[in-house]
């Protein structure tokens, strides 16, 4: 699914939601910006915070925490939007804060432990630890709702 699967070294961007730490491939993140109020979209799932204007592009904002099924609070100016490319679409991912840029080898990734629910497993590709922190590697492909199902 991902293009950089075989490369030994990957650069990842780590971020926090609630008390947990996650990371995504740095190549899929285009920019990071502060939270601005979004225009809500009607009849949309709860994790869709709405759309904002990113230099003329209408950018949908996904509350990543809500998407993963975590407890979330109303976003404040301290929240961060990671602008990411997912399958040709540009979306904003709402997270609490961006924490780090990491170097990682493919080998250090451990499979997601069995305790996680199927829902979480569909987003988390694996976990690894750095300096005693456990970080979940996120697969962004499934973060957006299936477009085909709706468009048909």
């Amino acid at each position: 699914m991902t293009e950089a699967n075989d490369t030994a070294n990957r650069e990842l961007i780590a971020f926090r939601i609630g008390g947990q730490e996650f990371c995504v491939d740095i190549m899929s993140v285009r920019e990071i910006r502060g939270w601005t109020p979004a225009t809500p979209l009607p009849r949309s799932p709860g994790y869709m915070k709405g759309v904002i204007n990113l230099r003329g592009t209408v950018l949908p904002i996904i509350d990543l925490g809500a998407r993963f099924g975590l407890e979330t609070s109303e976003p404040t100016a301290r929240h961060v939007i990671m602008v990411a490319n997912i399958g040709g679409r540009t979306v904003g991912l709402l997270v609490d804060a961006v924490s780090d840029i990491l170097q990682m080898t493919e080998a250090s990734v451990q499979p997601t432990p069995d305790v996680a629910s199927e829902h979480v497993k569909s987003f988390v590709k694996g976990i690894f630890s750095i300096d005693g922190r456990m970080i979940s590697l996120i697969e962004l492909d499934h973060v957006l709702p299936e477009r085909e199902a709706q468009a048909a």
């Binding site: 009607p42 003329g56 209408v58």
Partner: protein, 729 residues
């Protein structure tokens, strides 16, 4: 292989242009403009298609084009009259030629062989039939399978004169400077003649002035060629096809005395700039520079040209077939640009406009004086931005000609099928509108033209009985009116039979039997879904998917359609469309603190609901009285999920909208802020379709506002809240 394919693509692009040219010239012929220039233009178009097709080995196309071309050749030589019967055949032949081109492209599986063969027979009859059998020698395929202008530059076959001349032609050729300027070469022409048979070439350099008086860009040389081959005049002329307008050409059958005088050019030797101290060295250098390109030497001309003769400027590039259309008015210089690039530019300019508006607003809010340097600078910036926006929009604008040009063929076919005589008159082909709109115009116009001919016009017999000309006229016109494009389709047929329309509507349960309707309302009944007036459902129009489909596609473009009709005199359909799909006229409204844009074309009017006008049908569903009808109320904030409880209608404002299917509903909103043009931004680019939302836009303050999709809003309301309401009509 790839390069070959690329050339082929270019060929088909050229074919499209040539076919369009062919069509337009044939229309001129049909209108009685049967001058030689027009006939020649038709001939050249067919010839160019044939030439290119030959190079690609498209045999069916070549065969058909050849018959077409032969007939055109007869016409332009004046051996056959260019009468209406012939022109009708030519028009149909151009349709089949277009089919052949499409088939060669693989766009359609195959050409209707019977039709094609029928036309071939028809054209051959026109070519050969009649009193004076023209001495047309059927060329074999190898001969016409290649353009007369070869691309190969080698001149390795010296032409040897034959001692024993048989029958043949004396060809006197005096090229003008213009011929060389269009990259043609005498040498190649002579070689082509050489292919027809043995030739004797004599150069006449008697007109060549002395070196100091030589204007190098004129054609000073003349050639006399004796061609010893039994070919007909047309074959010889074909060699000079592309250059005939740019040279004096005289053909005399051998044996007949040559004409006494050459046709000399009118202008004498060009006078060089005054002053005797000419820079001979510079002139010489120029002469020599061009002499290199002169391919005269290899031709074994008995009177070899002196060195100076080589000074005739002959650009040594390959002769371009495109020269064929050169003599007509110079076309404006254009470039082909990838549409993506234009769209990127348009998007960027859209952002620029929004940013500029935001900046102005911020500056104003910061309390800067209007006379301050910054504010004044911003004003200039605003003017510039508008100008850039207008210019960029103009890039995408295209004349509606591309759509109109397809219509004559359609009219001919429908006229044939319905056995009616139809004349199509078009006006305003140059009216420009955004490319996306142009592309989507073809379908509704096609549909309406079919309707006009099939339903609007009477049969020739009926027309004669009504005291009209047996030939019906259908008019297709485009014009700009108050920032929109208006397309009018009118016919001089029988007009709408209101009684019958009303009866059908009653029969089909579309209106109540006792409904009292104005003429206008009756006329508009034909736009109702499921309405078809044709007595028998025909192949051409009808099937009950007629005008309502047209209306829907026009609505989808943000347009409106109206009709006016006079019994016995005809009907006029008027389409009014926005000039671009990138911008929308919208009503800015608020509901539950959200800014929402209602598309203006859908809005009928707005009103403040009075408690007395509000009623409930059954349980919860409110309806509002609007001009003696009751329309359902759609609480927008509630349907969109911005609010949990319905609002009090008397506290808000009701915007009466009409859906594409003609249903009316009242959108209940908090307030109306005003009317403005908004730039449409798709939600699907980065997300997906959202029910009830057509698209988004960006407001002056930089926030995103949603554009309402009136149709789905009304549909959601109906499905979401159970309703036993029946629309009064």
């Amino acid at each position: 292989m790839d390069a070959f394919e690329a050339i082929k693509v270019t060929f088909f692009q050229e074919c499209d242009e040539l076919l369009a040219e062919l069509e337009s010239k044939l229309m001129l012929l049909e209108q009685g403009q049967t001058d030689l220039e027009t006939i020649n233009a038709v001939f050249r178009a067919v010839h160019s298609v044939k030439g290119g097709a030959g190079a690609f080995g498209l045999e069916a196309l070549v065969r058909f084009a050849h018959v077409f071309e032969t007939l055109m050749d007869e016409l332009r030589a004046g051996r056959k009259p260019c009468d209406p019967v012939t022109i009708k055949t030519l028009l149909r032949a151009s349709d089949v030629l277009a089919d052949h081109v499409q088939a060669a492209q693989g766009l359609v599986p195959e050409v209707d062989e019977a039709r094609s063969a029928g036309l071939v027979a028809e054209m051959e009859l026109l070519t050969h039939g009649g009193e004076a059998p023209a001495p047309v020698v059927e060329e074999d395929e190898d001969d016409f399978g290649f353009t007369p202008m070869a691309f190969d530059m080698a001149l390795d076959e010296p032409l040897a004169p034959l001692p024993e001349p048989a029958s043949g032609w004396r060809i006197e050729l005096r090229p003008h400077g213009r011929m060389y300027a269009s990259a043609n070469e005498t040498g190649l022409l002579l070689r082509e003649l050489g292919r027809l048979g043995p030739t004797t070439v004599v150069l006449d350099d008697s007109q060549l002035p002395a070196l100091d008086a030589l204007a190098v860009e004129e054609g000073w040389l003349a050639w006399t060629v004796e061609l010893h081959a039994a070919v007909d005049e047309a074959t010889v002329r074909e060699v000079f096809d592309f250059v005939e307008a740019d040279c004096d050409l005289t053909l005399t059958p051998l044996g007949a005395p040559a004409e006494a005088d050459f046709v000399f050019e009118e202008e004498g030797p060009a006078v060089l700039p005054a002053g005797d101290d000419l820079d001979i060295a510079a002139l010489l250098a120029r002469v020599q520079g061009e002499a290199v390109a002169e391919p005269l030497a290899p031709l074994s001309a008995p009177e070899a040209a002196p060195a100076a003769a080589a000074a005739v400027p002959t650009p040594a590039s390959t002769p371009a077939p495109a020269v064929a259309s050169a003599p007509t008015a110079p076309a404006p210089v254009t470039i082909r640009v990838d549409l993506d690039r234009v769209d990127r530019l348009i998007n960027a300019v859209g952002e620029l406009v929004i940013q500029q508006a935001m900046l102005s607003q911020r500056v104003l809010e910061s309390g800067l004086a209007r006379s301050s340097g910054i504010a004044l600078g911003l004003e200039d910036l605003e003017l510039l931005t508008r100008e850039i926006q207008d210019s960029v929009m103009a890039i995408r604008a295209q004349p509606v000609k591309s759509v109109f040009q397809r219509m004559p063929r359609l009219v001919r076919e429908v006229a044939d099928m319905t056995h009616k005589q139809v004349r199509l008159v078009t006006a305003g082909e140059d009216t420009e509108v955004d490319k996306t709109v142009v592309e989507r115009l073809a379908e509704p116009i096609t549909h309406m033209l079919r309707n006009a001919i099939d339903h609007g016009l009477e049969t020739p017999a009926e027309r004669l009985a009504a005291g009209k000309s047996p030939e019906g006229t259908v008019r297709l016109a485009a014009l700009h009116r108050s920032g929109r494009i208006v397309i009018e389709i009118s016919d001089d047929g029988r007009g709408i039979n209101r009684e019958r329309v009303k009866k059908i509507a009653v029969d089909k349960d579309l209106i109540a039997a006792d409904a009292v309707l104005s003429d206008e309302q009756v006329d508009n009944l034909i736009f109702l879904p499921g309405f078809s007036t044709a007595d028998a459902v025909s192949d051409i129009s009808g099937r009950g998917v007629g005008m309502d489909v047209v209306k829907r596609s026009i609505h989808a473009l943000g347009g409106r359609i109206s009709i006016s009709s006079a019994p016995g005199k005809g009907s006029t359909f008027t389409l009014s469309l926005p000039l671009t799909l990138a911008v929308l006229d919208g009503m800015v409204t608020t509901a539950a603190e959200q800014t929402l844009i209602a598309p203006l074309p859908a809005i009928v009017e707005s009103l403040t609901p009075q408690a007395a006008d509000l009623h409930h049908v059954g349980g919860l569903d409110p309806v509002i009285r609007f001009r003696d009808t009751y329309v359902p109320v759609v609480d927008v904030a509630l349907v969109m999920g911005f609010r949990d409880a319905p609002m009090d209608p008397t506290q808000g404002i009701a915007v009466i909208v009409e859906t594409e299917s003609g249903q009316r509903a009242a959108l209940l909103l908090d307030a109306i802020q005003g009317q403005r043009q908004v730039v449409i931004k798709s939600l699907e680019t980065n997300y997906q379709q959202v029910e009830g939302v057509a698209a988004a836009t960006i407001l002056g303050d930089g926030r995103v506002a949603l554009i309402l999709d009136v149709d789905t809003l009304v549909a959601i309301r109906r499905s979401g809240v159970r309703s036993d309401f029946k629309l009064a009509s």
